[in-house]
């Protein structure tokens, strides 16, 4: 039986048995539970939004509560209807306490309950693992409080064993509270990541996160790795077997040792397949704990063989080859899904980033889900893993600074140990824009955090994201310094870091390199408008190993720091200088990729800067008379790859051509309008002033006499039909499998009608239900979970999930005056079609 089928959901108060009772194991001894690691525990919960008491009591009647399957985020769900539609729109509340930071969404308190059958074992052990809940959580089993957790981004586990009922009927209750202003971005609320059960036949086991695998050496003899293993309660007569298995299922290395609490085991893998961005080869390490023929525990760890190095002269190298990090920062939400961390959604984020040429990501400013990191491993995306956004000084009144001193050490331990096996992680960041870092006690904290990370994982460098001044020149002592840097001049805020991230300090890289020539830097955050200047600097500077734009993808919250302001000059300048936009803006709108996964103007420029495209055209949206446009701090002009501007006939429009060429010709309706040359000082941009006439606008780019690119924009016709395009050709049928379908308004020639704002109604037939439906509109327009939504820039996105059984799903999309779109999807099989 597939482990995932163990829990096929609950039916009312009766749960399915988790494991066979009294299983007889290979050694002939009866155990009251068999080994079962990683049993899914997501399905069959009951949920109630709102405060309450007594909900942890096992006998409480929760049949009136809503059924939910995890992952779940209640802040993205519609608020109870209010009389004032100007105040409440779907999940968005103009008067929300979190205001712009939370994207006008609401936290509060929520309760979850789940009934399951599992008898208390005589000699075995059962633990529950929560990958993440936002924010403060209390967990009860059968009315007994198991514990409280206050970090919304770290995983934690509880021992269920002593509290399981003798009869086997159990009730788990979880209270989650997301109260006060505790974040600068949208966090979601609830059990937003997976939950798992682990069952052991005895107490002896591999410690949670107790296996780390590190590549020590690559060479002619193969790859040398070192396996770090920690065990608990092992007793006598126990041994550990390690097996490294390749993707073809072959055992390529193995070892056996008598068990000890802490073990270091070297292995060599001949003819290794290395992990890289282009070829992210993975191996599986199986670590078995045995007593004779009895399997006490087995942990499976996916890892990759790679070595990363950083040097101010040689730059960054991956497996001996130079590399620059083409990075983007992202927050952890999944757009229309809120923060619910479905595996499909986490994987989709990585897929979208890779498609846009990103080879690195900075999950900001907290640990992301295991599913996200696994996707980075699988697809080949480097990760700068960040731990904290605050230390002791609050950025928001109720943020993690309230708990920092009591919890940072344990949380750092969890963050590093739980993720150290991921080949994608290349650095650990101990903080983002820590405001109080200049105080002497916080220089010590910088050292303590960095040192703890090095103790837990000495294979990766420590970094932090520095804004403002990096401190005064100092010299560290022999005892305190990083290895090899005693008495080397450095800046006080970075002296204990191995690699330094600079936020928005384009002008400081070169002067600071002159002052501290041993330093390796990267842009940990940069503004979209600096993409060209940033990459000119990076390409000429080995000591700057990459850059991470803020942000690669739009996120909920931090509203309106992107985009632009169009208004009369004085007001435009005033508003443009403000940090962000207030209600009804709900999304940051600063990303290269919008909320539904489509490219935005700055992304096309990045395509040219990074060599994905030799040429891109963008047309400035015509402005109302007397108005100017001021891009916001993290914004971009409203320039679009669009040549359909009704009402603008005869007006002169700014046409911007981004190219790596040295000459551009512009043609309109077959007639050459102009030709311009570019020099390096033009930073890959040339602008034309073109009187607007409908037709075909074409730009042709040359390098010398060679044509290197051609792009056309055509005036499209009136909206005629709705096109549905499923993103995946294969979809599973499980509750956690999602299907994404792009909705586009198209003309008679199937071209997307930019600026079409059409109300769409969905019909769904078959074994699927709607999870989310909406557009990339950065403003609050209503529910994200209704079968009705309006397109924006001609598009919207439907997200479905299976109801648990395979079969055909028919999705229909209707819009007034348009031919309906139809997509047929098959869940649980490869086939699907759309029209």
């Amino acid at each position: 039986m597939d482990r995932r089928e163990f829990l096929a959901g609950t039916a009312g108060a009766a749960g399915l048995a988790l494991v066979p009772a009294c299983a007889t194991l290979p050694d002939g001894a009866a155990r009251d539970s068999a080994l079962a690691r990683g049993l899914p525990f997501d399905n069959g919960w009951r949920f109630r939004r709102g405060e309450g008491e007594g909900f942890e009591i096992p006998g409480f009647d929760d049949t009136a509560w809503r059924s939910v399957d995890l992952p779940h985020d209640w802040s993205i769900e519609d608020l109870p209807a209010q009389a004032d539609p100007e105040r409440i729109r779907g999940p968005f509340d103009r008067d929300a306490e979190g205001t712009t930071a939370s994207g006008y969404t609401v936290g509060g308190e929520g309760w979850y309950r789940k009934r399951f059958q599992l008898r208390r074992p005589v000699s075995g052990r059962v633990e529950i693992l929560f990958e993440g809940m936002y924010l403060d959580s209390d967990v009860w089993l059968n009315g007994q409080l198991l514990g409280t957790h206050v970090n919304g981004y770290t995983a934690f586990a509880y021992d269920l064993t002593p509290h399981l009922s003798a009869s086997g009927d159990n009730v788990l209750a979880v209270r989650v509270r997301n109260l006060g202003r505790n974040s600068r971005w949208y966090t979601g609320s609830g059990i937003y990541r997976h939950v798992w059960l682990d069952v052991w036949p005895e107490q002896a086991r591999i410690e949670r996160w107790g296996v780390g695998v590190f590549t020590r050496r690559l060479g002619k003899a193969g790859a040398e790795i070192e396996i770090d293993t920690q065990l608990r309660d092992i007793g006598a007569g126990v041994q550990v077997d390690w097996r490294v298995i390749d993707t073809k299922g072959r055992v390529v290395a193995k070892a056996t040792q008598p068990a000890a609490a802490q073990m270091r085991q070297p292995l060599r893998i001949a003819a290794p397949k290395l992990w890289s961005i282009e070829r992210p080869a993975l191996y599986l390490l199986e670590t078995d704990l045995r007593r004779g023929g009895l399997l006490l525990d087995r942990m499976q760890t996916r890892f990759g063989l790679r070595i990363v190095s950083f040097d101010a002269r040689e730059g960054m190298q991956l497996n001996g080859k130079p590399i620059k990090m083409r990075g983007g920062c992202i927050h952890h939400d999944n757009g229309l899904l809120g923060t619910a961390a479905f595996d499909t959604a986490e994987d989709r984020k990585v897929r979208l980033l890779k498609a846009r040429g990103f080879n690195a990501v900075r999950p900001s400013h907290n640990p992301f889900s295991p599913a996200f990191l696994e996707a980075c491993d699988r697809r080949g995306l480097l990760v700068v893993a960040e731990t904290f956004d605050v230390w002791r000084k609050a950025k928001e009144p109720k943020d993690y600074s309230v708990h920092f001193d009591r919890h940072w050490r344990d949380d750092l331990n969890t963050i590093v140990r739980s993720a150290r096996h991921h080949p994608s992680i290349v650095m650990w960041s101990i903080g983002n824009e820590i405001q109080e870092r200049d105080k002497p006690e916080n220089l010590e904290l910088q050292w303590l955090l960095a040192n703890d990370v090095r103790r837990l994982d000495p294979t990766r460098p420590v970094t932090a994201a520095i804004h403002g001044l990096p401190g005064r020149p100092v010299r560290p002592s022999e005892k305190a310094a990083r290895q090899g840097y005693a008495d080397v001049l450095d800046a006080s805020h970075t002296v204990f870091l191995d690699v330094v991230g600079y936020n928005y300090k384009l002008i400081d890289f070169e002067p600071d390199h002159a002052r501290y020539p041993q330093r390796v830097f990267y842009g940990s955050e940069s503004q979209p408008r600096d993409v060209r200047a940033m990459w000119e600097l990076i390409e000429r500077s080995p000591f700057v190993v990459g850059d991470f734009v803020w942000t690669a993808m739009d996120h909920l919250g931090e509203t309106g720091i992107g985009g632009s302001v169009v208004a009369e000059p004085e007001e435009a300048k005033r508003l443009g200088a403000e940090f962000g936009s207030k209600w009804p803006w709900v999304n940051s709108f600063c990303g290269d990729i919008d909320l539904i996964g489509q490219q935005k103007p700055q992304s096309r420029v990045r395509d040219v800067v990074w060599g994905l495209s030799p040429l891109e055209i963008a047309v400035q949206r015509p402005l109302p008379e007397g108005h100017i446009e001021v891009p916001r701090g993290w914004g971009w002009s409203d320039e679009q790859p669009n040549w359909t501007w009704p009402g603008a006939e005869g007006r002169t429009l700014a046409v911007r051509v981004y190219t790596v060429g040295d000459r551009v010709e512009l043609h309109l309706n077959g007639r050459k309008l102009d030709s311009k040359t570019l020099t390096p000082a033009d930073f890959k941009l040339v602008e034309f002033a073109v009187p607007y006439h409908p037709g075909v606008l074409e730009a042709v780019a040359f390098r010398g006499a060679t044509r290197i690119g051609r792009k056309r924009l055509a005036t499209v016709g009136a909206p005629m039909s709705i096109r549905l395009a499923p993103e995946q050709s294969r979809t599973g049928a499980r509750r956690g499998d999602l299907v994404y379908v792009l909705v586009e308004i198209v003309d008679a020639e199937s071209r997307c009608v930019f600026d079409a704002r059409t109300r769409i109604q969905l019909e769904i037939g078959g074994p699927a239900e709607l999870v989310a439906f909406g557009s990339a509109n950065p403003q609050a327009v209503g529910s994200l979970q209704s079968p009705e939504a309006q397109t924006w820039q001609g598009r919207a996105l439907v997200i479905l999930r299976g109801t648990g059984s395979a079969g055909h799903v028919e999705l229909r999309a209707h819009g007034e005056g348009l031919v309906a779109g139809v997509a047929v999807l098959h869940l649980g099989n490869a086939r699907g079609a759309s029209r």
Partner: protein
Amino acid sequence: MEIDAPVYPPATAFELPVAVSFKPRLADMTIAELMKIPDAWAIVLQRFPVMATVIQSPLAKPNLHLITLYLVNAFRPFATPEELATLDAELQRLPSFMVLAP
């Protein structure tokens, strides 16, 4: 090719790093430090009156002890590089614009 993985071992014990004297440029002075030198700040406001508003903004205010005029200018341009260089030269001539001792 033989490649050994770098290691980043923990250090032995914390000791406060020893500060090094240096003569600051304008780019090394935080806005908070400039504001503590009355005649220097008076010159800044005389040349760039907008700074009186900038230091009150929600982004700048909590970070005045970390950001410099150059960084503000990068975010919200108010001066040319030549104007900042001229200001730097003028401040360097002030007796109160001192060497930062350890």
